[in-house]
Structures are given as C-alpha cells and as structure tokens.
C-alpha cells in the first residue's frame, strides 16, 4: 500500500499541537519544506528537538509554533546567532515583541545522539563519557551520573528522547517508505526509530527494485514510516548530497533578516505564508538560483555486486 502523501496532508494528519517534533539532519538534508508547512498550518506549542536548531527552527520559533527547544548547539553555522530564538531567550531584549519566553533543554551533541539512541532502543537511559566537571548537569537536571556495575567508575546518563514525529529528508524512497540516503547521515536513523510517527520527504520517489538492488544503503525501513512526501528541493537552503549545494548566501542573508522581528515576519509572510507549498517556493526562488546550486559534475559511487543465489 502506498504511503505517498502531499506535504499538506502528511503534516495535517501526523503533526499535532503540543507534539515533540524532530526535523533532523546535521547541516545536510534538513527538511525546510516540512518546517514551512508546519508554520503554514499554524501548529502550536510544539517542542522542537534538533542537535542544531539551525535556521529552520529559528523560523518556526519566529512563527510562534514552539514553546520549547531541545538542542545541543544553537547557532547559524559559520555566520553567527539565531536571532529569533535569542529574542525569546535573552533577558536584555524587551519583552512583548515576540510571544512568551522559550523553554530550553540543553545537552551536548553526543548527549542528543545518545537520547535518540536510547529512544530508538527503548532503553531507560544512555550512558556517555561527557559532562564531567562542567556546569551542564546543573543547568539540566536530566543529565545524571550513573555508576558502572563493573569497577566503581561513574559516567553520565541522558534520558531517552522519543519524538511524536520525526521528519527525515532523503535522496530517495519507495512508496512503502524504504529510504536511502548518502552523504552526512547525522542521527536521522536514531531519531526516526525513536519516533512514534515518521514522515520521510524525498527528492525522488523510486521503484521498490531500486531500493532492493542495494539493501545496505537503506537507512530507514518502510516499517516505521507513516508518510512519504515527494518534494524536490525540499531541503533548501540546506542541501542534498549529489542533488544541490547548501545555499550559503541564504544562511548569511538570514542573519540580517532575523535581527529584527519585523523583517523576520515579513520574510515569513513572503516565503512561507505567501506560497502554497514547496513547488511555489522553488518557482519563486527562480531557475537561476536553483541551477546555481547544482553540483558542477557527477561523482558516481560505482556499483557493487550482491550476486544471484538460486
């Protein structure tokens, strides 16, 4: 049975007010298309989880969808801060400009990866060698010491994170949701297995036989996928290995846009509320911008042989 849905339907049915939502992807494969649809559908009171909230959550926070962030690094990589989020966090900023203060729950990268891993594995905690002699366990009481039953060593533990919905962007999937990706993998697999519901967004919908030709490349099995959305260029201004480049100009532009609430809202009006979906966004972006982001050539992986065994 095909799980292919429109982004509108997938978000409407699978993302609910108050949900814990993870749109994962470490710089690579960040699904802005899903984030924008969540904004358009005016979802509220979401807890947004990501290692690096990135522009996607800065936009979602600015649009008022979120009440809380769970994260490990809050910045615009290589550029600076995430101003919309900072406005709802820093004391110095005059109140009233944006909605209520944003709750923060903060880990390190490995702590977040461990949380998803515990969630995916149905473990009550994940142990790691981090946090020793830092102020992080004081700032976040969910980072707790745990004593090894072998020897008397103590390490730290983080609790499982089980999102209500995880959104994963990928190069390709079949209609059942069997999903393959290459390039940086981040912790999408763990975040997907940890989630109650999974939305996969792909550049290309492929025949099941394409997936079955290379089963070791499958990162997420259809078994855990609730909807497959086909949304080319759906990761822009993030990128898709082999398909398009990171739009570094936009990452820099956002720094200026997000510095003021008014310019931020104007941008949201124009680029999110003002379009019906990703197809219109891409059209608005223009063919030149799109083609300027294409790789300059192909770098084929080559093929390996699994062999026929009859």
């Amino acid at each position: 049975m095909s799980k292919v849905r429109s982004m509108r339907d997938a978000v409407a049915d699978l993302v609910h007010d108050g949900d814990v939502v993870a749109i994962e992807g470490f710089t690579h494969l960040i699904c802005f298309a899903a984030g924008h649809e969540i904004i358009r559908q005016r979802k509220r009171d979401l807890t947004l989880a990501r290692l690096t909230p990135d522009l996607i959550y800065d936009q979602m926070v600015a649009a008022g969808t979120a009440r809380k962030l769970v994260f490990s690094w809050l910045g615009n990589p290589g550029v600076g801060g995430l101003h919309a989020i900072r406005r709802r966090v820093e004391d110095a900023v005059p109140a009233g400009e944006d909605p209520a203060p944003l709750e923060l729950e903060e880990y390190s990268h490995f702590g977040m990866v461990g949380r998803y891993t515990a969630g995916a594995s149905n473990l009550p905690f994940f142990p790691l060698r981090s946090y020793f002699e830092t102020d992080l366990p004081k700032a976040n009481p969910l980072i707790r010491p745990i004593r090894s039953p072998f020897g008397d060593e103590t390490v730290y533990a983080v609790p499982p994170l089980k999102p209500d919905v995880t959104v994963v962007h990928a190069q390709r999937a079949d209609a059942h949701g069997n999903t393959q990706m290459w390039g940086l993998l981040g912790c999408q697999k763990e975040a997907a297995f940890a989630a109650k519901r999974v939305i996969v967004v792909v550049e290309d919908l492929v025949d099941e036989m394409v997936i079955r030709a290379d089963p070791n490349r499958t990162v997420i099995p259809g078994l855990i996928v609730d909807a497959v959305v086909v949304e080319p260029f759906g990761a822009h201004p993030s990128y898709v290995q082999g398909a398009y480049d990171r739009d570094n100009h936009f990452y820099r532009d956002w720094d200026a846009i997000a510095r003021e609430a008014v310019t931020t809202q104007a941008w949201l009006e124009e680029w999110v509320y003002g379009v019906s979906g990703r197809a219109e966004y891409v059209e608005k972006l223009g063919a030149d911008r799109v083609s300027s982001l294409r790789p300059s050539g192909e770098a084929p992986s080559g093929s390996v042989d699994y062999g026929v065994y009859r």
């Binding site: 470490f26 710089t27 690579h28 290692l51 690096t52 994260f71 490990s72 690094w73 809050l74 910045g75 990589p77 290589g78 550029v79 600076g80 801060g81 989020i85 900072r86 966090v89 820093e90 004391d91 110095a92 903060e106 880990y107 390190s108 990268h109 490995f110 990866v113 891993t117 790691l128 060698r129 981090s130 946090y131 020793f132 002699e133 830092t134 102020d135 992080l136 004081k138 700032a139 060593e153 103590t154 390490v155 290459w182 390039g183 940086l184 993998l185 981040g186 912790c187 697999k189 763990e190 990128y239 290995q241 480049d245 990171r246 570094n248 990452y251 790789p295 770098a299």
Partner: protein
C-alpha cells in the same frame, strides 16, 4: 560543531571570525630578513597552530581557522595527520575550502562517512582523536572554557550556542588545542559557565578528576591567539611562551583578565615562512575568507 563558532557568536574577535584585520608588521623569523614579507594576524595564528601539530596523528576539526591550520600542518610539519570532521567525515579531500562543517565538498571523495553515533562513540569516545580544536567565548587561566551563556544561565545577558561537541571533545580528545583571539572579554579571571573542562582549579585537581573519572584527555596543551602562544605549566596554568612578531608584551597583558605567568624568556614567534604563506594564500584559502 566544535568551538570557534561560539566565538563568532559573541561578537568578540573570533577564531573563526571573518572580519578582515590589517596585516601585522613583518618580523624577522628564522629564515632571515630576506624572507621578510607582510602577513595578517590570522595568518600568524594559523601558522603557529599548524606548527604545534608536529607529530600528531588524528585531529578532530571544525571549519574556519582550525581547518586551515590542520591542512597547513599536513603540507608541512605533519604530513600523516588524519582529519576527523565532527559532521561524520574521515579522510576528506575537499575540492574547495569548506564553508561549513557540513559542506558537501568534504563528503565527495572522502574515505569514510559515518553517523554521528559512530563518530562520537567510536572515534571520539573510543580514544582515536589525538587533538581536538576548541575555542570559546571565555577562557580562564586554567583553560576552562565557556560557550554557553554570558551572565546567569536562567536569565542570560548573551545566549551563546552552547556545547555542541565541545564538552565531550574536551574530555575525550587526548589533548586540546585552543585558538582564540585575545580580549578582556574572552580571557577572563572567572568564566560564567563551564562548558568545556580544562585544568579545573589547577593541575592537581585536574589530574585527580581525569584519573578517577576515566577521562582519556589530558586537557588543553596550547592556546594560540592573535598575539601570542601559551602552553600550560606544571600547575596547570597558562604560561606565555611566545609573542607574535608585531605584538608587544603590553598588548598581550592588556587583553587578558589576569596577570599571565611568563616563561623565563618568552621568545618571538618565528614569522610565517614564504612557503607557509604561499600554501595558505594559493592553496588553502585563495579567496582569503578566513585569513585576511
């Protein structure tokens, strides 16, 4: 993402910062006056950091200055240096200068691309990383660093990016190299939040904690700034060992929140060689994105 970003965030002069700085007056390095040329403070930082990598094998890198420094080291003092990117890439051979730690150019043609679980579990925590590069918004005399908040945690004056991987890098990399620009705001007597542990309250406390808690890391070993090079002495405190050509001792002291310990005879950092500069300018950062 590891650290230099944290600095960019605060508005203090940033290790990974992109702001141009005027070239420093050329010093006379070991290569003699004939080789004298002009170079920027950033170039001096990169060269000094690269030289410190002599003999190291595996380096955990972020983008910006550390990325250029490790690539310079590979072409000079540490030809066998292996690079591990926090984003999950091992053995990258980027076709262009990567603009972010997740640039697709570091993936194409790399030796291995792995999940973050694998990167943090097996590479970093597993003890394969010899050198981790960190920077921060604040550092104290014992190399403890803050990249979380300025002010109170609950009601911060400035909300910084937070740990990223810095916390576990500080604990699990065999040693930590710090690259930061100096200022009264960044080199402080007391940091507001400890994100990445350095030598805690001193060498003795740090050694006990590392032993009892089973850290793989021996902590920070060098701090390279835009003005000077510090190592850590037997008490675990930063010691001024070398002043960059063009910088003065007064400048170094005026940009620190404490009176630094000094080597018996602080030396002048040897100036970048023409070959080092050529590599930076022609191969590593031809557009001068990080080094102007």
């Amino acid at each position: 993402m590891s650290e230099p970003r944290a600095v960019a965030e605060t508005g203090t002069a940033a290790a990974a910062g992109t702001g141009p700085q005027g070239p420093a007056a050329a010093g006379t390095g070991p290569q003699g006056p004939a080789a004298a040329t002009t170079f920027s403070k950033s170039e001096m930082m990169i060269v000094a950091a690269a030289r410190e990598l002599a003999g190291q094998r595996v380096c955990f890198v972020g983008v910006g200055l550390p990325n250029i420094a490790v690539n310079l080291a590979r072409r000079t003092v540490a030809p066998n240096l292996e690079l591990v990117y926090e984003s999950g890439v091992f053995g990258a051979i980027p076709a262009r200068l990567p603009l972010s730690i997740g640039d697709p150019t570091i993936v194409t043609g790399a030796t291995a691309v792995v999940s973050m679980f694998e990167l943090f579990s097996f590479y970093l925590q597993g003890g394969l990383v010899d050198v981790g590069f960190l920077g921060a918004a604040q550092i104290d005399r014992f190399g403890n660093m803050n990249s979380t908040v300025i002010g109170d945690y609950e009601h911060p004056k400035t909300r910084l990016p937070g740990s990223g991987g810095a916390c576990e890098i500080a604990i699990n990399a065999r040693q930590v190299f710090v690259i930061m620009r100096q200022s009264k705001r960044s080199f402080v007597a007391e940091i507001d939040f400890r994100t990445s542990p350095g030598n805690l309250g001193g060498a003795e406390t740090a050694a006990r904690a590392r032993r009892e808690q089973g850290w793989l890391g021996r902590g920070p070993s060098v701090v390279v700034t835009d003005l000077a090079i510090f190592h850590f002495d037997e008490t675990g405190e930063m010691r001024l060992d070398s002043i960059h050509p063009g910088a003065t001792l007064d400048q170094v002291r005026e940009t620190m929140g404490w009176e630094p310990k000094m080597a018996d005879r602080p030396v002048t950092t040897p100036t970048p060689t023409p070959e080092e500069l050529r590599l930076i300018r022609e191969e590593l950062d031809p557009e001068g994105a990080y080094t102007k």
